[in-house]
Amino acid sequence: MKIFNSFLSYALVIVCCTVHYHTFGQQNTSGKVIYKIGFSSNTAERSTRMKEASTNMGQEQDNFIAIMSEVNEKIEQYDFELQFNSSSSLYRLRNEVTGDNLSDQLAISTVGGNTIYFKDLKQRSRIEQRRYSGQLLNVIMEYDRFDWTITPESKMIDQYLCYKAKATMVFTGKFGEELSNQITAWFTTSIPAPYGPQGIDGLPGLILELSIGESDRYIYASKITLLPSSLEIKLPKGGKDIPHEEYQKILVQENIRRAKY
């Protein structure tokens, strides 16, 4: 009976998700979501981990801890905005960041905040706009990036019933090695928009909370605004198109070159 009940609840999740998802294209769903980054650990726990992580630094250990503490404070202050309509989405950092501040630069690099994530459902395209060596690049990404497993586990986030989903994110490490992280997302079919933060999406509802790997950082929706009329969404103009594989090769080659100094 227990097995039957869990099968039934799982089947219900799938049916609900499918019904919501297929009606999405017919609705005029637009909105803006502010995401923030939080930590599941407290400051003291992070400080202990920083000390343990930097024992190799000798006299520079205090400097490392000071820099990383400032970085973590900055990360919590950032606002990221996802704009979406029935066919596309755009995700970017909202804060203006001054160029010379180390903790800002490091914080932004740490959370991928120097990238604009654009997705077009009709064109089946996914572009990440980045600046590299002073050049603006439109990195053409693979469209279907995630193979999600939706679980019957649910919780309320704000007023929205959310389901838990898991996927594996494969990425290229610094020297070209293939690495992967487990992603856990909480999404709601009440907002049947298949989008999410940091280009992580493809579920039958908006992602309201996300954690990646074993990091104690997570991304959460802090403000959700649904709009009655369709938002116009466009990738900012300019930039040179480059396939993701080619871009990765350039980065890996540079990382290897630096390591050979």
Binding site: A53, S54, E60, L102, S109, F171, T172, K174, N255, A259
Partner: protein, 75 residues
């Protein structure tokens, strides 16, 4: 997690040993100091944050190298 840290540590240990074996001219020394400092920082950074993607590593490395050359190696 321990496995990831070990992989990162082994990779960076390789970098540090390459640096240690490099024969430097006096003009190179300022640059090599920053290379070692940034390598040490990146090892601690990856120990703390986990293995990085090629892009994140590249960005953080560039940020720290700029910081080192502009602020730390003038003395």
């Amino acid at each position: 997690m321990k496995k990831l840290i070990l992989i990162c540590a082994i990779s960076l240990a390789g970098i540090v040993s390459v640096n240690a074996n490099t024969s430097n001219t006096p003009d190179d020394l300022v640059r090599i100091d920053c290379d070692s400092w940034v390598d040490g920082f990146m090892l601690a950074y990856e120990n703390f944050n986990g293995c990085q993607s090629a892009e994140n590593y590249n960005n953080v490395y560039s940020n720290m190298m700029d910081y080192c050359t502009e602020n730390l190696n003038e003395n």
